[in-house]
């Protein structure tokens, strides 16, 4: 991805952080992302029994981590 595109995306993201998304924008973006993901999903077979997560680890944890932003 070129630097110019990254800068535009970064600027858009910074603006979003200040204003948030309207309900209409959320629906528009959701529809666009869904279209994209559906195409990929149709072209790429799902691994047998798609699973991710560490449920055993979660059940052993006593509390949430204080700071998992940069984990």
């Amino acid at each position: 991805m070129s630097d110019k595109i990254i800068n535009i995306q970064k600027a858009k993201q910074d603006k979003r952080q200040k204003t948030g998304w309207s309900a209409e924008e959320i629906k528009e973006r959701a529809a666009a992302e869904f279209d994209k993901n559906r195409k990929i999903s149709q072209e790429t077979p799902e691994p047998e029994n798609l699973v991710s997560g560490d449920m055993d680890g979660f059940l052993k944890e006593k509390g949430s981590k204080d700071n998992d932003e940069e984990c």
Binding site: Q9, W21, I26, A31, F34, R38, P47, S52, G53, K65
Partner: protein
Amino acid sequence: MVVYSMLANHIDAEMRYGRLRTEALKAAHETLISQNITNIKLYTISSEALNASRLWDNSKSRQVNWDWFESYRSFKHRYPKRFEMAIWDKKSLIGLSMGRPTYRGTALRLDFVEAAPSDLGERPSIIEYVLLGYDIYSRMLNAKQIRIMNPINNKVLSYYEKFGYSYVAKGDYLYKDIF
């Protein structure tokens, strides 16, 4: 007194974020209907969904022996801001997922996802519906990123990468920025 106040805050958060979860799933439904997808339904995790997940114990190909009853109860108790979804194809449960915002809310974690085991019957893929729900909820929370935690193996990791997610070994997750 402090305990009552904490309890009140927890109940209040559960209600506020419960409304957001419902709104997110409603918006996801509207997206599906606009695409003429009427067989797939996305709901929060109900006792009906948890009961249906018990059938997965009969699978010989299931990758994990997760107890969704116990983990959902614990996750719900710990994280009122969580996101959760049960994916139904007509009357069959085809997937369950739970996640939560990170501590400061800059990212939405997809902590757990499990698709119905393939030897229990044919089903559509679930990933696009899972990502749809998380996409909407993350924007509602104004999170900057979605993180898929702990891919179970390299095949699953590579699969997520096809959807534009990048792997971070330190932390064992994949992320995608939200634009």
